[in-house]
């Protein structure tokens, strides 16, 4: 006690170090308590991706691409999602929507399905290996065919076919394939005011 009274510097030092150690212990305990399992942001992004598992983004599937977006990858590499998908991702992540990256394939207006011209098929099974959703039925040296309900129209089977007997055909709208149109995202509906498209470019700056 005498020592501390003689050197107030040590009192100050002890008090600050003690306080810092106490706070450090508290934070360590809190970090253990509030530890997050997995990546919840990637889960949210994964829900918005079309789940075609087509790999056109350069990742092995939708889930790996969702994790890459959560780590800062561009949001415009998903052709099946199209402009609506990019808009939804931009709203979720609070970033500017950017046009689709054409390097990864063009967006298709109508949903397409693969069709195998069965008389030309030689039964090589290469398209079966390429299909990410197992929508092609067949065996070695047997004719293959596409289960059109399962086909996501990702184009991945067209390239490996040695006899080029696979066509992408657009599905005719019928009672079975007709779906309700999804409503436009709110941010696009705002654009009915003509001046908005001019102002939106300049008004999003950040002042700190």
């Amino acid at each position: 006690m005498d020592f501390l009274a003689q050197y107030p510097l040590f009192t100050a030092l002890l008090a600050l170090v003690g306080l810092a150690a106490l706070f450090g212990a508290l934070l360590g305990y809190a970090a253990e308590q509030f530890r997050t399992e997995g990546n919840p942001v990637a889960d949210e992004i994964n829900k918005l991706l079309p789940q075609t598992q087509c790999g056109q983004c350069g990742y092995p599937g939708c889930r790996p691409y969702a994790e890459a977006i959560a780590n800062g990858e561009a949001i415009n590499k998903c052709p099946p999602g199209g402009a609506a998908g990019i808009q939804a991702l931009a709203t979720l992540l609070d970033v500017e929507p950017i046009p689709l990256d054409e390097d990864h394939g063009a967006a298709k207006n109508a949903p397409a399905v693969a069709f195998i011209r069965e008389e030309e098929c030689i039964g090589c099974t290469k398209c079966i290996l390429a299909c990410p959703v197992d929508a092609i039925l067949g065996a070695a040296k047997q004719m293959h065919t596409v289960i059109s309900d399962l086909c996501t129209g990702c184009d991945l089977c067209v390239e490996p076919c040695p006899v080029d007997c696979i066509d992408m055909i657009s599905q005719p709208e019928s009672v079975q394939t007709w779906r309700w149109q999804l409503p436009d995202p709110v941010s696009r509906r705002v654009d009915i005011i003509v001046t908005d498209s001019v102002h939106n470019a300049g008004s999003r700056d950040r002042a700190a």
């Binding site: 107030p8 009192t11 100050a12 008090a15 600050l16 306080l19 810092a20 706070f23 508290l26 934070l27 809190a30 970090a31 509030f34 530890r35 997050t36 919840p40 942001v41 949210e44 979720l92 992540l93 609070d94 705002v190 005011i193 001046t195 908005d196 102002h199 939106n200 300049g202 008004s203 999003r204 700056d205 950040r206 002042a207 700190a208």
Partner: protein, 192 residues
């Protein structure tokens, strides 16, 4: 007694509003007010930090610094307390609302250097507030910050689609709006 506390609360929220009257914490006020949703998240996080930091720094000052004769160390100690509280808040937000954590981004850890938080802790000492008074003053400061941040964000959302002359677009109009809001809040000066 109750009247004293409510006067303290009203004074912290309206009359001595930290942002618009004392001009503390302007950085998040301009930075996180582009979207109403993220402004609300920021408002909640800052209120939490202000209340907790105000109470903690009061306890540390009265039960550690004063008995040891170390009152001159209050600034550095308060910064330590604030940094810990913000770190804790960051963990809670990351666990409870990962999307908000992503949207707030760098502004969440930047609450540490929000001068309103340190200013509040030092004001509590200079005004000789008790523990309960510090708690109420901290919460009032946070509520006042939330009020003006949410109002300002709502206005900026409307202004983003308004047809204004080119030189006033964006940040310039934000500054002018903040100035007008400040003038309006000066009108509360005679309230208590």
């Amino acid at each position: 007694m109750l009247a004293d506390y409510s006067i303290l609360l009203i004074s912290a929220i309206l009359v001595n509003n930290f942002v618009l009257v004392q001009f503390l914490g302007l950085c998040p006020f301009m930075g996180v007010s582009n979207k109403l949703e993220s402004a609300m998240g920021m408002a909640m996080a800052t209120t939490f930090v202000l209340t907790l930091a105000s109470a903690c720094s009061n306890l540390v000052y009265h039960f550690l610094l004063v008995p040891l004769g170390l009152a001159y160390l209050k600034t550095i100690t308060f910064i330590l307390v604030i940094a810990v509280v913000v770190q804790f808040t960051e963990m809670v937000v990351k666990k409870t609302s990962p999307m908000l954590y992503r949207v707030l981004g760098v502004y969440l850890p930047l609450i540490t250097v929000n001068c309103a938080v340190l200013g509040l802790a030092l004001l509590n000492i200079s005004k000789d507030h008790s523990f309960l008074q510090s708690l109420i003053y901290g919460f009032g400061g946070g509520a006042g910050f939330s009020l003006v941040l949410v109002l300002f964000a709502a206005m900026r959302e409307r202004l983003a689609v308004a047809d204004v002359p080119a030189p006033f677009k964006g940040a310039a109009l934000g500054m002018i709006t903040a100035g007008f809001m400040s003038l309006a809040f000066m009108g509360f000066a005679g309230l208590v």
